[in-house]
Amino acid sequence: MLRSLISQLRTLGTVLQHSFTRAETVEYPEQKPYLAPRYRGRIVLTRDPDGDERCVACNLCAVACPVDCIALQQGVREDGRWYPEFFRINFSRCIMCGMCEEACPTAAIQLTPDFEMCEYDRQSMVYEKEHLLIDGTGKYHDYNFYRVSGLKIFGKDKGEALNEEPPVDVKSLLP
């Protein structure tokens, strides 16, 4: 009984004390808080050093997304590369957690510090691939998934990826 009374009084005291401390909030947007350079905001889709889109439509971002706000469909280009026929993110659901960036095996998805995406119409928060794709490599300048992966594409034959031997001659009996 006495213990709960003390607890109540201490709570009241703490609240009262906060009336005289400095406010942590700022008058946004007139006043802007300091944000770290790698603050997690809106995502972009980047390109590899050769200028082709990095996304291979593997669906890992979609499955990692805790609010399920990414949807895409894979397609195969004539040169053999997988690509997203559409890549849609519903930013009105996005919580900018960065799980998609972490899941992305090709460094295609990268988070930017931009979070200021207010709209009067929720529909405008739906971004398609055209809105997301940028003309650069983002944070990872040299990574090119198809240089590492064993999949053959136009301009990179079997055995030409990183750490690969030339294709086996299956007709040879030599040791």
């Binding site: 291979v56 399920d68 706000c69 949807a71 397609g75 529909q123 992966s149």
Partner: protein, 906 residues
């Protein structure tokens, strides 16, 4: 039962098994690659290593492969200790040395057994710094994609393809660590079961080509238990859907029917539901003959105008579900209802049904067919009419090997040892068919006869078995083999078009039973619900040919292209006779083009239906996804038609389940249909069963391009399944409601063992369809007269139907990839006959107005001509007719393919 000790705990396990399957059956996770529940063990991959101790005092133990170790009473194993798991980790690491870095662009990713096993063993960091071995891929046809770099040389592919399915053109090639799994040169895989490589391969070497080009991960596929509609076997399937498109079909395990495998028609033919020619809206033909789409109200009005107070007739369909057919039969009256099969086929199916019900021989399931120790196949080219049954026969001929193994006390899972022991010794299979068949390679004898002679041979065999006749020819050899067996099987079907042949098959089975054998008798059925239609019309129906003489004013055609059933002249006569035609179907066809009102039906992946397979097993299929646009299940359209016609007897039906329950009455058939699967009120732990895996992605973005406001999930009031990821997805849900297989740590279809009560046995939730024929009574068939022996004519040829796995079935021929394999319709002639006609292979011949490509086949009986049945060009041809063959005058020979043509096809 033996008791074994694993990790210090005692377990009671089944006798005669190996340690791997015992552990998996106990729910213990033990990684493996090369072992397969249907193919046994060979100990090739070294992944299932455990430590075995001699006795309690033994502290060192030795590493053994669990899949090659029999369980014996008192054996002591260490599964999770440092030594066993460390060994397994090194094995995976060595397998991963050359694995390409391509999971993101691999169609196996997310349901990859190699991924699962790598995670399960705990291997994470790569220590090897050397280079990776690479291979060139092969073109393996329009169905299968090859990516050899991913191979871990477990040999499962060749063991399935060659040893299990009898294929010859896929092999382990090259030497030492260059071993290569492929063909001797590029080309389409010949086996009709090649598609199973997609599921058999533990990683992504063989993948589904159409899926690779329109890919969705397993976790994003919405799927529901379905039944294959491509033939009468009734294999259980799991179609997967995303964005309204059918992406792929996987096998759904049913211990009594298809087990672990499907044929390629079933696996790849289903994508016809994505075809451009799907019908989306109801339409009415205007005065100029063009179809105009109708709104819902306009459609209801049009139906009322055309149906109220009119005399109705209906044509059902062997490819529509039992419920829709039943509703149509009740709506128009049984005396105005045609089964939808061609009249001769209908009579054959009625006869087959009468024999199956009245014979004292057992009517076997596919699993039981695999247990036959002598088989007589009469008049069916089984690989093309019921492919999965042909695969079962390939297992049946191995019973001799199993008998030999039993003598040496070899366990049945000792696959390599048993094959070595048996070599070419097989249980006898005798194939009687009009031409060569794909089972000839394992047949003890094959006899090429036209249908009339097949029937005469069958009747001779029966007489010999009964002891009424003697001979020393083929009939005596076959009879001797059947009498030497314990469980002989006689298998026939309507494929040859002969009633006397069915009688002969039944007589042989009957004689075998009289001789004290546990004989089995089975008939194939052409379509997924042919047997259902034979059952539904067992008391009364109207022949298609008799419809033109009724006084009906409206003809309702349910999912049926009449031009495949009737000659063109008869269809035209019927059209002239009955003023109003209403057609319900999913794809455009020539019958719908003749209708006044067209109603868009849901395809097999969009509707609930019960199909009755050749064995008389009723199996329920559920919609994988809700139908798009104005498409609706046929049974819903029929309820609308009934309402428009003012029929009150069907007005009490709201749910799909009500159809069977309301109309069943005392009829055991309808009661069986109604209880083929748990009804819509079934709940698992108080919840519905989800169609989507728990990690289904993109829910809040899939439809955001249309509207950012997410619609609520479509309700499914007609079944216990939900179009949702929420619900109860336990491993003991009923087999009929198994919407997908997944278990923690087991993302691939290998997780199936978690759903089984024993490896390769029944599902934990039970339910593999309901056999109907055991409880039915049907009048015995009057014997058909034995036909005259075949004698050739001078200028005429006897037509004999040839079935093609790819092409003879109406809908599966439109599946993606399959259209490239159907080829042209052909006429098959004996080379001597062809030279008499002045024809060579590849020339054109005209038969009854149809121009067909000539193929030479020495197995064709001289004086007869085989034709590709079911092709649009050959719909006018009927098996058993005598025809003239003329040389086609303006025939274009098929150009030979050159290398660069293939790029466009692949």
């Amino acid at each position: 039962m033996p008791v074994i000790k694993v990790d210090g705990k005692d377990y009671e396990v089944a006798e005669g098994g190996n340690l791997l399957e015992s552990c998996l059956g106990l729910g213990l996770d033990l990684p493996y690659f090369c072992w397969h529940p249907a193919m046994g063990s060979i100990g090739a991959c070294r992944q299932c290593a455990v430590v075995q101790y001699q006795n309690e005092e033994d502290t060192r133990g030795r590493i053994v492969m669990a899949c090659m170790t029999p369980v014996t009473d008192g054996a002591i194993f260490d599964l999770s200790g440092e030594r066993a798991s460390g060994f397994r980790q090194t094995v995976v690491e060595s397998l991963m040395v050359d694995h390409p870095h391509d999971c993101p662009v691999c169609a196996e990713g997310g349901e990859c057994h190699l991924q699962d096993m790598t995670v399960m063993t705990g291997h994470r960091d790569r220590h090897y710094r050397g280079t990776k071995k690479t291979y060139r891929n092969q073109y393996l046809g329009p169905l299968i994609h090859h990516e050899m770099n991913r191979c871990i040389t477990c040999y499962r592919c060749t063991r399935f393809y060659r040893d299990y399915a009898g294929g010859t053109d896929l092999a382990a090639l090259a030497a030492h660590d260059h071993v290569y799994f492929g063909r001797h040169r590029e080309g389409t895989l010949e086996s009709p079961f090649a598609g199973n490589l997609v599921e058999v391969c533990p990683t992504g070497v063989f993948t589904d080509k159409s899926l690779v080009h329109d890919y969705t991960r397993k976790w994003d596929l919405q799927s529901a238990p379905s039944v294959c509609t491509s033939c009468g076997v009734g294999c259980n399937t799991l179609p997967g859907e995303r964005y309204g498109r059918l992406k792929r079909i996987h096998n759904r395990y049913n211990p009594a029917v298809n087990g672990y495998f499907l044929c390629d028609r079933g696996r790849f033919g289903g994508t016809h539901v994505n075809a451009e020619s799907r019908i989306d809206f109801p339409a009415q033909r205007d005065s100029e003959g063009r179809f105009q789409a109708l709104t819902d109200e306009a459609c209801a009005r049009a139906l009322r105008d055309r149906l109220q107070g009119k005399r109705l007739a209906g044509i059902g369909s062997p490819r529509a579900g039992a419920e829709a057919n039943l509703l149509l039969q009740r709506l128009v009256g049984a005396e105005n209802y045609a089964s939808g099969m061609a009249d001769d086929e209908h009579a054959l199916m009625q006869r087959a049904l009468a024999h199956l019900v009245n014979s004292t021989a057992h009517n076997p399931s596919l699993r039981e067919i695999e247990s036959a120790d002598a088989v007589l196949l009469l008049g069916e080219d089984l690989t093309h009419t019921a492919a999965r049954t042909a695969l079962a026969l390939r297992q049946a001929v191995r019973n001799e090997a199993h008998r030999l193994a039993e003598e040496l006390r070899l366990a049945p899972w000792q696959d390599a040892a048993i094959r070595n022991l048996a070599q070419d010794r097989r249980s006898p299979l005798h194939v009687v068919c009009a031409g060569s068949t794909d089972l000839d390679d394992i047949a003890a004898g094959h006899y090429r006869l036209v249908a009339a002679d097949q029937a005469r041979l069958a009747s001779d065999i029966a007489a010999i078995i009964r002891g009424e006749a003697r001979s020393d020819g083929a009939a005596a050899r076959i009879a001797a083999d059947l009498l030497a067996a314990e469980r002989p099987l006689v298998l026939s079907g309507p494929g040859a078009g002969s009633a006397a042949l069915l009688d002969g098959a039944a007589a042989i089975a009957e004689a075998l039973v009289a001789a004290g054998k546990a004989a089995m008798l089975s008939f194939t059925a052409a379509e997924c619900n042919s047997m259902g239609q034979a059952l539904l019309c067992r008391d009364s129906h109207i022949a298609l040919a008799a419809l033109a003489s009724t006084d009906a004013e409206v003809l309702i055609i349910l999912e049926n292209d009449l031009l495949r059933r009737l000659p063109m002249a008869s269809v035209e006569a019927l059209r002239a006779r009955i003023p109003t035609w209403i057609g319900i179907d999913c794809l455009e066809n020539d019958t719908l083009a003749r209708c006044d009102l067209v109603l868009p039906a849901a395809a097999f992946t969009e509707t609930e239906a019960t199909y009755i397979n050749q064995e008389g097993r009723a199996q329920r299929a559920f919609p994988t996804h809700p139908p798009a646009e104005a498409r609706r299940p046929a049974w819903r359209w029929l309820l609308d038609l009934a309402r428009a016609a003012g029929d009150r007897t069907l007005s009490g039906i709201g749910h799909f389940d009500d159809i069977g329950v309301t109309l069943a009455g005392e009829d055991p058939l309808l009661q069986g249909i109604a209880s083929a699967a748990p009804d819509h009120s079934f709940r698992s732990r108080g919840l519905k069963i989800p169609r989507q895996p728990h990690r289904y992605s993109g829910r809040t973005a899939m439809r955001a391009d249309v509207s950012v406001h997410e619609p609520r999930q479509t309700d499914d009031a007609d079944s216990a399944l939900a179009f949702s990821m929420e619900g109860s997805a336990t491993t003991d849900r009923p087999g009929a409601l198994l919407s997908y297989v997944w278990s923690p740590g087991w993302n691939s279809n290998q997780s199936l063992h978690k759903f089984q009560s024993e490896i390769g046995g029944a599902l934990r939730g039970e339910g593999s369809g309901l056999r109907l024929l055991d409880s039915l009574a049907v009048a015995a068939a009057t014997p058909a007269p034995l036909p005259e022996a075949f004698s050739r004519r001078e200028q005429e040829w006897l037509l004999q139907a040839r079935h093609h796995l790819f092409g003879s079935d109406e809908l599966s021929r439109l599946g993606s990839g399959i259209e490239a394999l159907t080829g042209r319709a052909a006429i098959y002639l004996h080379p001597e006959d062809a030279s008499r006609l002045g024809l060579e292979a590849g020339d054109g011949a005209v038969i009854a107005g149809a121009a067909l490509e000539v193929r030479l086949d020495p197995s064709q009986v001289p004086g007869s001509a085989g034709f590709s049945t079911g092709y649009p060009e050959t719909l006018a041809l009927r098996s058993g007719e005598w025809v003239n063959i003329d040389v086609a005058s303006d025939w274009q020979r098929q150009p030979e393919l050159i290398g660069s043509d293939r790029g466009a096809a692949s």
